[in-house]
């Protein structure tokens, strides 16, 4: 009987202690930050992404599995700027974890460390689901990734001092590779300058800004409002007068509106990865930019 109790006690202890003793738990809101953490922390981290490429980061719910993940997290990395406002605040209040509350070293709001675009001058919900602190989809400008990488490295070394040297070395290596890749992308993306594209949601703005492309319209009449027939008809007319080179959409968008416009206005439709894992080629951050540029170049004849 005594042995049975000790076995049960040992099992219970193992069940409770196991997750804590493993690698540092990183809770990334979006796949791009999970990929970045993986680059910077390697096997020192156990990384989880709350949103998959097929999910709209605005729209997921604070489901129980996310509360569990948040409860055990040592570091949380999110885009911020109200992108996750429908679910992240609940995770903070339900998880019972003081290490990752806003304001503590365990929470990184990535968009606070970069220059945000499209900060509205006037804020009114009649304009759609706008973000008062600017467009939150910051990761499609590689310069922003570099900036956030600095912050993540700093926090990792702070939280997990035992492995600080590893994080610094990995960061140096990543910076070098990222810098070289940015040089390459800048060259490759030269022809994209001035290329007009129609987006689905305003989630490509940072990429457009970085490459010097031009946003010729969006399928959503207002941010967060699904495409309407009237708005699409208007876009078709506009495309007839000055055609865009492509209509693009992200994996979590329904392609039908993009296809409708593509057929009516006779412009190619290009599915873009949007984030890491969004297409087979976009298996890491490097692949994300490689594939995005490649897909756009392919239709920019």
């Amino acid at each position: 009987m005594k042995t049975l109790y000790s076995i049960i006690a040992a099992a219970a202890f193992a069940a409770i202690a196991a997750p804590a003793s493993a690698a540092l738990n990183v809770f990334a809101c979006e796949p791009e930050w999970a990929a970045l953490a993986q680059e910077l922390g390697g096997d020192k981290l156990s990384v989880f992404s709350a949103v998959t490429p097929m999910q709209d980061p605005h729209r997921i719910e604070a489901r129980p599995s996310l509360v569990s993940r948040m409860r055990n997290a040592d570091l949380v990395i999110c885009s911020g700027s109200e992108l996750e406002i429908g679910w992240l605040p609940l995770l903070f209040t339900q998880a019972g974890n003081d290490r990752i509350q806003p304001g503590s070293p365990g929470f990184i709001e990535a968009s606070q460390y970069v220059v945000r675009l499209e900060i509205p001058k006037v804020i009114d919900r009649a304009m759609g689901d706008i973000h008062p602190s600017g467009n939150p989809h910051i990761h499609l400008d590689p310069r922003n990734i570099a900036k956030v990488a600095e912050v993540v490295t700093e926090r990792l070394t702070q939280i997990d001092q035992a492995n600080a040297a590893t994080y610094r070395a990995r960061a140096e290596d990543f910076n070098k590779r990222w810098g070289e890749a940015m040089q390459k992308w800048r060259q490759q993306a030269q022809p994209l300058k001035g290329m007009p594209i129609v987006v689905y949601h305003k989630d490509m703005s940072y990429f457009i800004n970085w490459t010097g492309m031009r946003e010729a319209g969006s399928l959503e009449p207002k941010p967060g409002i699904p495409p309407t027939p009237t708005h699409l008809a208007e876009l078709v007319e506009r495309m007839k007068r000055s055609p865009a080179k492509a209509v693009v959409y992200s994996p979590y968008n329904n392609p039908s509106a993009a296809q409708f416009l593509s057929q009516r206005a006779n412009i190619p439709v290009v599915p873009l990865p949007f984030t890491v894992g969004g297409t087979p080629k976009a298996k890491d951050l490097f692949g994300l930019f490689d594939d995005t540029i490649e897909r756009l170049l392919a239709v920019n004849q």
């Binding site: 998959t52 992240l88 609940l90």
Partner: protein
Amino acid sequence: MHRILLCAVACATAAPIAQAQDSLPQMRDELKKLQQRIDELEGRVKDAESTATQAATQASNRPQSESALNPAVSVILNGVYANLRRDPTNYRINGLIPTMTDVAPPTRGFSLGESELAFAANIDHNFRGTLIGSISPDNDSIGVEEGTIQTIGLSNGFTIKAGRFFSAVGYQNQIHAHAWDFTDQPLAMKAFLGGQLNEDGIQFRWVAPTALYWDLGTELGRGRAFPASLSNGGKNGARSLNLFTHLGGDVGQSVSWQTGLSHLRTNPSDRRYDDVDSLGNAVTNSFSGTSRLWVIDGVLKWSPNGNPTYNNFKLQGEYFHRKEDGSLTFDTLSRALANGLASQQSGWYAQAVYQFLPQWRAGYRYDQLSSGTVNLDTSGSGLTAADFPILAGYKPKKHSVMVDWNPSEFSRIRLQFARDYSRMGEPDTQMFLQYIVSLGAHGAHRF
């Protein structure tokens, strides 16, 4: 300007090379490279300029005053048009002890529902505060729906909440009315929780460090409302105890679920309700004793790849079982005759809501209650069961269907039809047309 200047420099430096090597194609090549370099530099200048301007803009946009720390404020407005076959003032649920709270359908015709006013913010590094007031349109009163402080500074999965809050008994009780999928709550909530139970007290909750979501919690409360009673006031200690646990997780990417078990125990004293006696005279009866309620709840949500934007499906159900033992005083105001009461009653509902198009959802709910076993001991009072008509055996039922349109995350317009068999022998046909909107801070809804 830069370009011309740099070109000139480029040409000047390129010229001698060309002369020396006398190779025109190579010169063109060099020029092209230089041109690229110029473009790149120009790009960088442009980036730097835009960064500087935007940084300046962002800096100037930062709120400077104390108002920067205002709590998040939001307002919920709702209004309803009701078309009811039966007069809602006569509403009752036969077979179960009335709750003495307003669980009747809204008044006939147009009416403004309760407006909600919510404030929430982190108080400091330890606490978060929330105040949700409800403004009742008819009796001009402001009530406190929830007013809590909650810890954010604890670790190891612990959370403590104090104040007034919607009790964690069952699933829907914790959800604010504006986020319900139907205009009214299920019959079981009306009968066993007096509509919706908010308790003054303290809640302790612990989330286990497991991959599968598991929480355990308890609530100690004053017992301010049904199934306890207002007259519980004036006593020290906790007059209501709730124990709860939940499990939850995902199945693949498309399905997530949660299930819960809760037990609410209260000791109502002098919990009154109105009825008529066997001669049809109005009387007020009152119950004192113990009331124990068990609730099993479950919710399952599906959306393709976990992306609910276009299509999603939600299945929800709860089963309530209540055991009450104590004494039922007949006509407390004059005759005051004591009777023994031991009852075991139950009820359940199941509902399904499907978003078939972006912005459009449809749903169906089935409700059923059972008066179960009611052992009324009238040996001391000389009364008969006919003196307690509301307790006569009955199985109330209800069918509801709804369709709603959600033009944005902040507005909803709903049409609901229901066939309600709450009153014995008087089925009601109900139609509701309702709007629910939210203004201000973007709310976050519980799973």
